[in-house]
């Protein structure tokens, strides 16, 4: 198989973009999981009335990370 014809410039660029998108989405997802976990620990250390909201936003961020990862895989 001729790699030059298979990977023309446009396809190579798309492959790089997809690879970067997947890698950055994974990093974002890991970061949001760490942040959510730490927020959960901190709400136990300092228990305020805003605890449910903080947990909800942190979990929403994890959901956003999962969404980004799925979207990047479909690019």
């Amino acid at each position: 198989m001729d790699l030059n014809s298979y990977f023309n410039n446009k396809e190579l660029l798309n492959l790089f973009i997809k690879a970067f998108a997947v890698v950055f989405s994974i990093i974002y997802l890991l970061f949001s999981i760490v942040l959510a976990k730490q927020a959960d620990i901190m709400t136990k250390t300092v228990d305020t009335s805003k605890k449910p909201l903080i947990i909800l936003i942190s979990l929403g961020q994890v959901g956003l990370g999962v969404g980004l990862l799925i979207y990047s895989l479909l690019l």
Binding site: I17, L35, Q38, V46, T48, L75
Partner: protein, 190 residues
Amino acid sequence: METVEKIETLPSSYQVLHSFNIRPKLRFEAQGDNEEVILVVRAHPITQIPWLLNGLIFIVFFYYLNFFLPSFLNLGQIIFVNLFALATIFAYIWFNFLSWYFNVGIITNQRVVDVDLQAVVYREVTYTNINKIEDVTSKGGGFLASMFNFGNVFIQTAGTEVNVEFMNIPKPSEVSRIINNLIYVKKNGS
């Protein structure tokens, strides 16, 4: 001592955008059964302006970046870049908000608690008994600090105990006055 009685009867209030809270609805880990939270302090909101401004600058930057993206990316990729940029800006703002929200100083009728959350992953909680406190110093200086009445409170403890610092908190002199009153009550019993 009249001021001590006043502190004990102060009504619950949330001041300076929740950075100076008297008798808030808050509990902390290792809080004793008879321990009552009197004051909770955070950094003054004005000291959080830099990261809020940075977030705004990032949004403006990514908005203008959209004018150049169509020349070398397809629609799906442009949508991903925008979503990722917005998610990153949100993460940056949320990260800084959590750092501010959980960096608290808690003053109870028995202890002073300093909760530090650095870079979100590093956590330090310092407990100091009121009767171990030797000296309380409030410091404030500079244009913004004078204008918005915020500064630092340094709590020095006896011997090799850890010293406690509350940085950039609102009304530092009032905080030191409250702690001094609590020390007086603890030592004199009235």
